[in-house]
Symmetry: C2
Amino acid sequence: MSAYAALAEPHRRDILDLLRGGERSVGELVARLDISQPGVSKHLRVLRDAGLVTVRPEGRVRRYALSPAPLAEVDAWLEPYRAAWSARLDVLQRHLEEHPE
Amino acid sequence: MSAYAALAEPHRRDILDLLRGGERSVGELVARLDISQPGVSKHLRVLRDAGLVTVRPEGRVRRYALSPAPLAEVDAWLEPYRAAWSARLDVLQRHLEEHPE
DNA sequence: GTCAAATATAACTCACCGGCTATATGGCGC
DNA sequence: GCGCCATATAGCCGGTGAGTTATATTTGAC
């Protein structure tokens, strides 16, 4: 699954947001996510296949960590659009300068 | 459908990319997209519902234009991750400086 | 070795998505 | 009005996604 598709699911974005705070075990994620443990494991599998997270087994616990590299592609795709919407903001700003309310 | 989900479909990203070059009629999009006209219309409907494009009827032609505002949300979500992956690059860079091959 | 804890996988269901063809809708030319 | 052109919608189908419960797997504790 592409990084784009992986991000389409809100729970998966939640998981990534949680992992931004550092490594988390599956149990810790389950505790914060209002879906079943197998559901979390399934999402983690998708994220792992997309290269967005990595696992580090530690005893019987598996700690997941963020691996944000694939997001760079999304960011790169977004790049030209950033110009587009800031251009729009510029237009608005110029308009306001020339026609103050 | 959320902006994230809208972006999950490659054809829809293609459509947005095409619209970056300016307004396009449905026919022009169909000509470049290797899917049927109804398929394109369906994707345009999704993009419209997500607020990513706007329509301007002009005679019997409907011209679609980019409306990138919802992408700002995606960009904002991505923001903290940008830090995360540039941090990783920094780590790599420092490593290379301290241990040149 | 046995049991319990942590996690993954299997198997199932339901809903939705993306493609198609066929058809409806609305504007234009005559 | 009639027919054509551009586009949208309806309706169908096959695939897949996200959730569940039940079960398998691995590891640690004893």
